[in-house]
């Protein structure tokens, strides 16, 4: 039945009653991101009072202990840094802990009983979100167990829904991602599966859609006719931060490029969707990615660059090289940097290179998209007037300091004509002084509301792997030749990346 009191422009969408079950509740992500985000959603009244959270992991803990831990976590990791006693008490009433070993069927019997009890006590109506925040090796098993215990589907005769959020990484190559998709599809429909990619929860990434399709002036320029090339930079200053063991097996292509960077790339390259519903948007994204020109060994050698950092300094501080990090082999051939030259073989982008780079221990933490337009068709102004000038550029900064910059030429005031570049700057932080919502908050709410637009669909996860597989294979088979380390921490990656663009008469932008 419709709720007539929901009419109007002011009331935000609120979610239905539900229970969120977190597998991996004693882990880092739960305390750092998930519970603080859920607490905020309750505070902002975006979820109803009929809401509960069940933390699940192998550690023996009482619900009381779990609540105390989470209270500390919220105080530490939430923006406000404090919690109000009374408000916390009210939130904590819906917070439970249950010891569950993902591989032990008997534990799911307890989980079923617990969820039934919560449905009765808190009116959560059989709606459930299962959040898999555990090691990736456990995803398939968790889903299998949910299926076998009957938790993967709404109870017989009930209207409720069941959704499962799966953390990254989704597979470690094409075969494992396909296998994982196959396994989870045995128990879940695609509509129940929410593969998280927290980049998609970022405000600027969402703004890309608005920027491209709500502004009539850009779309006519958004093609091979006017665009010379596109640069996407995804740079971190951090190293492996104690996760050396994981990173050794992953590398930057698996960890960043294949998922986050490709998501951003697909938003830049996609055709306008017919509507903003989740399927139309995701259909267009996959369509664009399907047009990506396959990588051959020749192309990989000629147009891609891998890198690994050596010792150097970041923000004035000495940092060790990758091979000196904990958990990393002294002769490791894992890449911490990669640059790819990508082409979309379709009408819009034919012949336009997309230069993509991502790496650790680079000079600055930044994620940005730079659209470089072609030169003005006719050089009206002589080179002495234009010495400082470069073609128009449109820069979309995803993080930090979200914003959009357009570089245009203007005349320097004076008797003679001299031309200079000026930046037209639009910064979210500076234009709207408001705080942007945390990505996890937005994504969790979307899942509870049943909107998967900002989650990755099966075809997209597999396509991402399909594209990078030849690169992973080529680089694995030529490990011995990898000239590692080949860039100093705190720089913009291997010299070869600069040479590559230079040969094409282009240059990397300094973000």
């Amino acid at each position: 039945m419709e709720n007539p009191l929901r009419a109007g422009v002011r009331l935000e969408r609120t979610a239905e009653p539900c229970v969120v079950v977190i597998f991996g509740a004693t882990g880092d992500l739960t305390k750092r991101k998930l519970v603080p985000a859920l607490y905020r959603l309750v505070q902002e009244r975006l979820v109803p009072a009929e809401f509960a959270i069940v933390g699940a992991a192998r550690t023996e803990l009482s619900s009381e202990e779990f609540r105390a831990n989470m209270k500390e976590a919220v105080a530490q990791f939430s923006e406000a840094k404090t919690v109000d006693e009374e408000v916390w008490e009210s939130f904590a009433q819906g917070l439970h802990y249950l010891k569950v070993d993902i591989g032990t069927s008997a534990d799911y019997v307890n989980l079923v009983a617990k969820l039934d009890q919560i449905d009765r006590e808190r009116g959560t109506q059989g709606n459930r979100v299962f959040y898999l925040s555990t090691a990736p090796t456990l995803y398939a098993e968790a889903v299998r167990q949910l299926g076998q215990s009957g938790l993967a589907k709404p109870k017989e005769g009930q209207k409720g829904w069941v959704r499962v959020i799966i953390e990254k990484p989704f597979g470690s190559d094409l075969a494992s991602a396909q296998a994982l998709n196959r396994d989870i599809h045995q128990h879940l429909d695609e509509s129940q599966i929410y593969r998280i990619d927290h980049y998609l929860g970022k405000e600027t990434v969402q703004n890309l859609l608005v920027f491209r399709f709500a502004n009539g002036i850009y779309e006519p320029l958004w093609n091979r006719q006017y665009i010379d090339h596109v640069q996407i930079t995804n740079a971190e200053t951090v190293g492996v931060e104690g996760r050396g063991g994981y990173y050794e097996k992953a590398g930057v292509v698996r960890d960043m490029l294949q998922n986050h960077v490709f998501q951003v790339l697909s938003l830049v390259a996609m055709e306008p969707p017919a509507s903003l519903n989740s399927e139309s948007v995701r259909d267009e994204k996959i369509k664009a990615m399907t047009a990506v020109r396959p990588f051959t060994p020749e192309r990989i050698r000629a147009e891609c660059v891998r890198g690994q950092y050596g010792a150097g300094s970041i923000n004035g501080k000495q940092v060790p090289g990758y091979r000196e990090e904990e958990g990393v082999a002294p002769d490791s051939a894992t890449e911490t940097f990669a640059m790819l030259t990508m082409y979309f073989d379709n009408w819009r982008w034919s012949g336009v290179p997309f230069y993509i780079r991502s790496g650790k221990r680079l000079a600055k933490r930044v994620t940005e998209i730079a659209i470089q337009f072609k030169d003005a068709p006719h050089k009206l102004f002589g080179s002495e007037m234009m010495e400082q000038m470069t073609p128009n550029q449109l820069i979309i900064r995803v993080q930090p300091d979200e914003g959009i910059t357009m570089r245009v030429a203007a005349k320097v005031p004076g008797q003679v004509t001299r031309i200079r570049d000026v930046n037209m700057d639009f910064r979210y932080g500076a234009s709207f002084g408001v705080q942007l919502a945390e990505a996890y908050e937005r994504l969790l709410l979307d899942c509870i509301l049943g909107d998967p637009t900002l989650y990755a669909r099966t075809d997209m996860t597999e396509r991402g792997w399909e594209i990078v597989m030849p690169i992973l294979e080529e680089w694995a088979s030529t490990k011995a030749e990898a000239p590692f380390p080949n860039y100093e921490a705190g720089t913009w990656g291997p010299q070869a990346t600069h040479d590559l663009l230079e040969q094409a008469g282009r240059r990397w932008r300094r973000p």
Binding site: L5, V9, Q93, R122, G429, A430
Partner: protein, 384 residues
């Protein structure tokens, strides 16, 4: 966050305002703001905000408020201080810029610009013609009418025509019954070209949200159509004791409009309490307004709302705590389950409330229906 105001020489013009000169001074201010500063100045203009205020207006408070507004919605502010009682006609203007160091990006500044116009006596009526040429083209124009609107006020009408949206605050109405009824008429008559916002309606949003969320729960939904008792407790407005607070009337007006409750002539006054009978088909709905204990800083605001159904024995409650810091809700069906919660209630500053209104560009149909419904209730009351 720092803010700085850089006033310029006043452009005094008894015959009118030299708009060209004001624009030049503003341009110079921008150059100065950029010069020599380590950080660059980002000038953003997303709107025009015309503020109409009386000479008694607390300027320091308004500056504080405009700092907040600049942070959320930078643009050009045109402040008109109107001294209607002045014997002599007077029109003066000066410009200033307002810079905010953005809370996060540290070095970057967001700036807005301001023109203050002081008008006295006969010049008040024509002040709108001095404002019009100062409006920045292509971005929306908001009018914040810091007074009670009157339909025959020439200046009000001119400024409404100039604006895309009018913001008022029914909390300051000193005779809520008559003023709300008049507001209903003003909105009704100007539907073609006026969009209205009410800060007092904004104060109801978290209440409305919590109330509405009861019925998002499928199990509770049938009870909504069985409500037959409504109790609203409110802090009686100091300026109009004996009248029901506009905040409380708007809340009931909203319920009545959205749930199609019709007013009847049945109205009773018992001491301080007022009781209306509304009708939904055959079902009678008793609506009681009850003044609560007077509390500091909560003048004219609601304190609790209780909705009951005698047929199904359900009770839904939303109330604010003693310190006005937390909202509490509960839902009870018969003796069975009671689910409730406590959420914090961040009293928003006036600047934040105004900023919220300035982010809205579409018609707030629900508000307009609520006001119309209050108009009908008052009319029924005045007839009884």
């Amino acid at each position: 966050m720092s803010s700085e105001i850089q006033p310029s020489a006043a452009a005094n013009a008894p015959q009118g305002i030299d708009v060209g000169r004001l624009e030049k001074e503003l341009a110079a201010n921008w150059r100065n703001a950029g010069d020599g500063a380590e950080s660059s100045v980002t000038r953003v203009c997303v709107l025009n905000l015309i503020i109409y205020a009386a000479p008694g207006e607390d300027r320091a408070k308004m500056d504080e408020l405009l700092d907040v507004v600049t942070e959320h919605a930078p643009g050009r502010t045109l402040v008109l201080i109107a001294d209607r009682g002045a014997a002599e006609a007077r029109l003066e203007a000066h410009v200033s810029t307002r810079c905010q160091t953005a809370s996060r990006g540290a070095a970057k500044q967001v700036c807005g610009e301001q023109v203050t116009i002081e008008a006295g006596g006969a010049a008040v009526d024509t002040a709108a013609s001095a404002i019009e040429p100062l409006v920045v083209p292509d971005v929306p124009v908001f009018l914040w009418w810091k007074d009670i609107p009157h339909e025959e006020d020439k200046l009000f009408n001119r400024l409404v025509e100039l604006s895309d949206r009018v913001v008022i605050d029914s909390l300051v109405f000193d005779r809520p019954h008559e003023d709300l009824k008049r507001l209903a008429q003003i909105i009704g008559a100007r539907r073609q070209y006026m969009l209205a916002s009410d800060l007092n309606w904004g104060r109801l949003t978290s209440w409305r949200n919590l109330i509405a969320s009861f019925w998002d729960v499928a199990d509770y939904r049938p009870h909504l159509d069985a409500i037959d008792e409504v109790l609203v407790e409110y802090d009686p407005p100091d300026v109009a004791s004996g009248q029901i607070a506009a905040h409380a009337l708007l809340l009931v007006g909203w319920l009545a409009a959205e749930l199609k409750w019709q007013p009847t002539g049945d109205f009773v006054r018992e001491e301080n309490n007022s009781r209306w009978v509304l009708l939904s088909g055959e079902r009678k709905i008793n609506v009681e307004f009850r003044p609560a204990a007077d509390r500091q800083g909560c003048d004219g605001l609601i304190a609790t709302l209780t909705l009951k159904t005698s047929a199904t024995g359900a009770e839904f409650y939303v109330g604010i705590n003693e310190g006005w810091t937390k909202l509490e809700t509960s839902a009870r069906i018969g003796d069975a389950r009671a689910v409730g919660r406590v959420v914090s209630y961040e009293a928003k500053s006036e600047g934040e409330r105004l900023s919220r209104e300035l982010s809205m560009l579409s018609r707030d149909e629900v508000y307009e229906r609520a006001v119309a419904s209050v108009g009908q209730l008052i009319e029924a009351l005045q007839k009884s």
